[in-house]
C-alpha cells in the first residue's frame, strides 16, 4: 500500500524512467489494476475486457440457438401456410376484393405475435392498423379494433384503448388448426357489430420478405346492397341460390365461412412471418455479437501486449540504470 503511494509520488516528482526500478521488482503476475493506476495509459484492464468477452460470447450462443429454433418452427408452419393459400381464393373470385369500400362500421382485426425479438413485423402491422383507422373514420363512420397477440395489445393499449373491443392472446400456444381458428372467428363475430372486417397481417412472401396485407370481409347486408347497386359486386345478383330459404341466409353463412377461412390463412401466414423475422433478427444479432467479440479480442490482445511491453521496459531500464550506476 505504502509502496503504491511512493510509486505514485515518484511518478509525479521524477517523471523520468529512473523512478521505475521499484516497479521492476514487482511480480509480473499481479493484476494490471495497479498498473492502470500507476501508468494511467490504458482505460480498460484485461480483466474487464475478459468479462465482457465472456458475456458477448454467451449472447452469441443464445441468439444462434434461438435462430435454429425459429428455423425449425418455420419449416413446420410454412408447409401448412402454403397449403392454406387456396382457401380464400374462391371467395375473392366471387365477391371481389374491396379494400376501399365505404362503410359505416369498420372493424380492424390486427394479428400480431405474443413473443418479442422478431424484428419489426408487429410495429408495421400496428402502423397499418392506425392508418386504416384514419382512413375509415369520419362523420358517421366509426372504427373499432380487435387485437390478436400480446405485442400489438401492448402498443395499441396506450393510445387507442377506447376503441379496442376484444383482445385475444396465446393463440400460438397450441399448434394452429382450423377448428380453433373457427371458434375464434365465431367469438369475434358474436361480440362485434360490423359492416366490414379488415384483417391486417404479415403475409409470408419469403424468408426475408414479409408484406403487410389487409383482407376485407364484408357483412351480408353490405354485400346485398353493393350487388344491387352494381359495380364490382354487380355480378352477384346473377348467381342462383341452392339451399336455404332466402338469399340473405345463404349470404350470412357465406360471409361467416369466408371470415373463418381468411382468418385461418392470415393466422398461419402471420405465424410464418413471425418465425422468419425472428430468424433474421437473431441471425443479425449473432453476427453483431461475433463482430463485437472480434473487436474485443483485438482490444484484449493489445492491452495484454502493452502490459507485457511495459513490464519489459521497466525491467530493462531498471537493469540499464543499475549498470550505468556501476
Amino acid at each position: 500500500m505504502a509502496m503504491a503511494v511512493f510509486r505514485r509520488e515518484g511518478r509525479r516528482l521524477l517523471p523520468s524512467i529512473a523512478a521505475r526500478p521499484i516497479a521492476a521488482i514487482r511480480s509480473p503476475l499481479s493484476s494490471s489494476d495497479q498498473e492502470e493506476g500507476l501508468l494511467g495509459l490504458r482505460s480498460i484492464s484485461t480483466q474487464v475486457v475478459r468479462n465482457r468477452m465472456k458475456s458477448v460470447k454467451n449472447i452469441q450462443k443464445i441468439t444462434k440457438a434461438m435462430k435454429m429454433v425459429a428455423a425449425s418452427k418455420l419449416r413446420a408452419v410454412q408447409g401448412r401456410a402454403e397449403n392454406s393459400r387456396g382457401l380464400w381464393q374462391p371467395f375473392t373470385a366471387l365477391l371481389g376484393d374491396n379494400p376501399s369500400i365505404d362503410v359505416k362500421k369498420s372493424v380492424v382485426v390486427t394479428l400480431s405475435s405474443d413473443k418479442g425479438l422478431c424484428g419489426g413485423i408487429n410495429s408495421t402491422v400496428v402502423k397499418v392498423s392506425r392508418a386504416l383507422y384514419k382512413l375509415n373514420s369520419g362523420p358517421e363512420k366509426e372504427v373499432q379494433f380487435v387485437i390478436v397477440g400480446e405485442k400489438a395489445k401492448a402498443i395499441m393499449f396506450r393510445d387507442s384503448k377506447n376503441d379496442i373491443v376484444l383482445s385475444v392472446t396465446e393463440l400460438n400456444k397450441n399448434p394452429l388448426n382450423y377448428a380453433q381458428v373457427s371458434v375464434l372467428a365465431d367469438d369475434i363475430l358474436k361480440n362485434v357489430e360490423f359492416d366490414a372486417l379488415r384483417i391486417v397481417y404479415n403475409k409470408f412472401h419469403s424468408v426475408v420478405a414479409f408484406l403487410p396485407t389487409v383482407s376485407t370481409v364484408l357483412s351480408p347486408e353490405i354485400i346485398e346492397k353493393e350487388s344491387e347497386i352494381g359495380g364490382k359486386l354487380g355480378e352477384l345478383d346473377s348467381y342462383e341460390i341452392e339451399g336455404g330459404e332466402t338469399k340473405g341466409e345463404i349470404l350470412q353463412n357465406l360471409a361467416e365461412f369466408q371470415f373463418s377461412c381468411v382468418m385461418f390463412n392470415a393466422v398461419l401466414e402471420n405465424a410464418c412471418s413471425e418465425m422468419g423475422a425472428r430468424m433474421s433478427a437473431m441471425d443479425s444479432s449473432s453476427r453483431n455479437a461475433g463482430e463485437m467479440l472480434d473487436r474485443l479480442t483485438l482490444t484484449y490482445n493489445r492491452t495484454r501486449q502493452a502490459s507485457i511491453t511495459t513490464e519489459l521496459i521497466e525491467i530493462i531500464s531498471g537493469a540499464s540504470a543499475l549498470e550505468a550506476a556501476k
Binding site: 382457401l87 381464393q89 374462391p90 373470385a93 402502423k127 382512413l135 396485407t213 348467381y239 342462383e240 345463404i250
Partner: protein, 203 residues
C-alpha cells in the same frame, strides 16, 4: 483516368440497353396492389408508408366468361390444410347440396350452393373419384369454373365401415340420452354425418 471513365460509362450503357431489351422481374419483386382508389386514399392518410397488399394481388386472375359453352369444367377443390384439386379439367362433378345431389356440367348457370355432409364425385372420362365432404360451399361461376370449399374431406376408400357403424350407434345413443339443447344438437349432427357416410359407403 478519363479513358477508364469513358470505358465504364460505355459498359454501363451497354448493360442498360441489354437489360431493357430483356426485362425480367427479379424473384424478390413484390406484387403491387391493384386497387387504385385504395392506394390514392392511403397516400392521403399516410404518405410516408407503403400501402399494404390486398389479396387480389396474390391471386391468379380468373378466365373471362367465354361466349360458347366450353367442353370441360375447371374444378378447384380446397380444404383448410390442402388444395386437393386446383384447376383440374373434368367432365362433370356431382355435389351434395342441401337440396340434394346436384350435377354440375360445363356451362352451368352461376350458383352459390351450400353443401351438407355427403359424397362428391368427380367424373373425368371413365375415371370417377369420390370424396366424402363434411360441409362447405360450392361456387359455380359463369366461366365454367367450379370452386368447392369444404371443411373436411376424405376419399371414400380411406374410410373404415366398421368405425362408421360404431360411431353411428354411439351418436344415436347420445341423442336419446341428451339433456341440454346443445348436447342434442351435437348428437344430431353426429347422427346425420355418420348416416350420410353409411349411405355413401353402401350406395
Amino acid at each position: 483516368m478519363f479513358k477508364q471513365a469513358s470505358r465504364l460509362l460505355s459498359r454501363s450503357v451497354a448493360v442498360a440497353s441489354s437489360k431493357s431489351a430483356t426485362t425480367r422481374a427479379f424473384s424478390t419483386e413484390v406484387p403491387s396492389t391493384l386497387d387504385s382508389t385504395f392506394v390514392e386514399s392511403w397516400k392521403k392518410v399516410a404518405p410516408n408508408m407503403d400501402p399494404p397488399q390486398t389479396p387480389s394481388a396474390f391471386m391468379k386472375p380468373r378466365p373471362a366468361t367465354p361466349s360458347s359453352i366450353p367442353t370441360k369444367l375447371t374444378v378447384n377443390f380446397v380444404l383448410p390444410y390442402a388444395s386437393e384439386l386446383s384447376g383440374k379439367e373434368v367432365d362433370m362433378v356431382i355435389i351434395p347440396a342441401t337440396t340434394g345431389q346436384m350435377g354440375v356440367l360445363p356451362g352451368h348457370v352461376p350458383t352459390i350452393a351450400e353443401l351438407k355432409p355427403g359424397i362428391m364425385s368427380v367424373h373425368e372420362g371413365t375415371d370417377i373419384k369420390k370424396y366424402f365432404l363434411s360441409s362447405g360451399f360450392a361456387l359455380l361461376h359463369a366461366n365454367s369454373v367450379a370452386d368447392i370449399i369444404a371443411v373436411e374431406a376424405v376419399p371414400l376408400d380411406h374410410i373404415d365401415p366398421s368405425q362408421v357403424q360404431k360411431g353411428l350407434a354411439e351418436f344415436q345413443q347420445k341423442l336419446t340420452s341428451a339433456t341440454t339443447d346443445l348436447e342434442k344438437a351435437e348428437a344430431q349432427i353426429g347422427v346425420e354425418v355418420h348416416s350420410a357416410i353409411n349411405a355413401a359407403l353402401s350406395g
